[in-house]
């Protein structure tokens, strides 16, 4: 019987993922409606359930891909992987007007550079506060606070140890997950309710997954604006991290 189920589920993994995610979202919207009386958005609950499941899956399998490492739920890896995620993000741009983008264009560009530099500086200060004095270590941790992609790219370019690179990835993951959970809670107090501020938000936060999930749980209409700037952030971070930012840190320590 188990063999039968696992054979069918493994062969149809993406379809299993559609069904499992569908049920998760139904449960989440039910909880949002009945238990929080609509105060917390259903998608915010669904994303939180997803993260909890990812923690559970990661500890159970010892892998790095959350529930996607559990055999029967492998299709979640395809459904939530980079290809379909980017496809769906681009589709949200349908119906966006060019004029909205132009209005926030300059602030959006400023926010990308400000976001990379500020996150880097904060991460570097924390590294120094924890007693690091080696410029390579400080730069790698600072780059990790930019995103979990910029961290290892920078670390490898400047010859950081494997341990430092792991730390930088962890810092980036903390950031990404906190943006997913924190955005809907803080949205109102930072004025995140229009296309312009969403573009600035995407540029400042930069973690594509964090911004994608955070805005989805806040107001799906803002997703295309935030996602558009966020996708440039990692590139700018990979560019500045091992070059300008590393040189500045080296001159200070």
């Amino acid at each position: 019987m188990m063999d039968l189920i696992s054979a069918v589920f493994n062969r149809n993994s993406l379809v299993v993922a559609f069904a499992v995610i569908g049920v998760t979202i139904w449960v989440s919207y039910y909880i949002a409606d009945k238990l929080t009386a609509g105060r917390i958005h259903g998608s915010a609950i669904a994303i939180a359930i997803g993260l909890i499941a990812a923690y559970w899956g990661g500890t159970l399998s010892g892998g790095t891909k959350g529930v996607a490492d559990l055999g029967l739920l492998g299709g979640i890896g395809l459904m939530g992987g980079g290809m379909l995620r980017d496809f769906a993000i681009v589709s949200t741009a349908f119906g966006v007007h060019l004029s909205e983008l132009k209005k926030a264009g300059a602030a959006g560009v400023v926010s990308i550079f400000a976001g990379v530099i500020v996150s880097f500086v904060v991460g570097a200060i924390v590294a120094v506060a924890f007693g690091y004095t080696d410029p390579v270590a400080i730069t790698t941790i600072g780059a990790g606070a930019v995103t979990y992609i910029v961290g290892p790219v920078t670390g490898e370019a400047i010859g950081a140890s494997g341990e430092m690179i792991t730390l930088s990835v962890a810092a980036g993951l903390v950031k990404s997950i906190l943006v997913m959970i924190g955005t809907p809670l803080i949205a109102r107090s930072i004025g995140l309710n229009n296309p312009q501020s969403a573009m600035v938000f995407g540029g400042l936060m930069g973690t594509t997954s964090g911004v994608a999930a955070g805005l989805a749980a806040t107001d799906p209409k803002l997703v295309p604006y935030g996602a558009m700037t966020a996708t440039f952030y990692t590139g700018v971070g990979c560019l500045l991290g091992p070059s300008v930012l590393f040189m500045i840190v080296s001159s200070l320590f």
């Binding site: 559609f18 979640i76 741009a93 349908f94 792991t166 924190g182």
Partner: protein, 126 residues
């Protein structure tokens, strides 16, 4: 035809990704620089242009709107495959660095948004 919309979306993504990858190559980094952002701009431009009307209106639009509606479910699947266990095992340094970066960035959102509004009003005054 629904597939026309899906195909338009696909071509936008592929062209954007090619540009993003090429941009990364030019800049000397092994990363896709803004591929998704360029793809989004392409979709905005094509779907607002009368030349591509057959690919982005009527049934073709449904092909794009379906994926747009699948966005939140896909994001939930994405959340379910994050390395949450890895994030929590990084220790205090990783935790503090990540949290501090987010808190400071959140605080800057209203500051830079205001900057954008000022720019806009200056241009209007001209």
């Amino acid at each position: 035809m629904i597939i026309y919309g899906v195909a338009l979306l696909s071509v936008c993504l592929l062209v954007g990704m090619l540009f993003g990858q090429a941009l990364g190559l030019v800049l000397g980094i092994d990363a896709n620089v803004g591929g998704v952002g360029i793809a989004m701009l392409l979709l905005v431009v094509t779907s607002n242009s009368p030349r591509f009307k057959a690919l982005s209106s009527g049934n073709a639009a449904l092909g794009i709107q379906f994926w747009s509606a699948m966005y939140i479910p896909i994001v939930v699947a994405m959340a379910a495959q994050q390395n949450v266990a890895g994030a929590t095992s990084g220790g205090m340094l990783a935790l503090v660095a990540g949290v501090a970066a987010v808190v400071v960035s959140f605080a800057l959102v209203p500051v830079i948004s205001k900057l954008g509004n000022n720019d806009a009003s200056v241009e209007e005054n001209k």
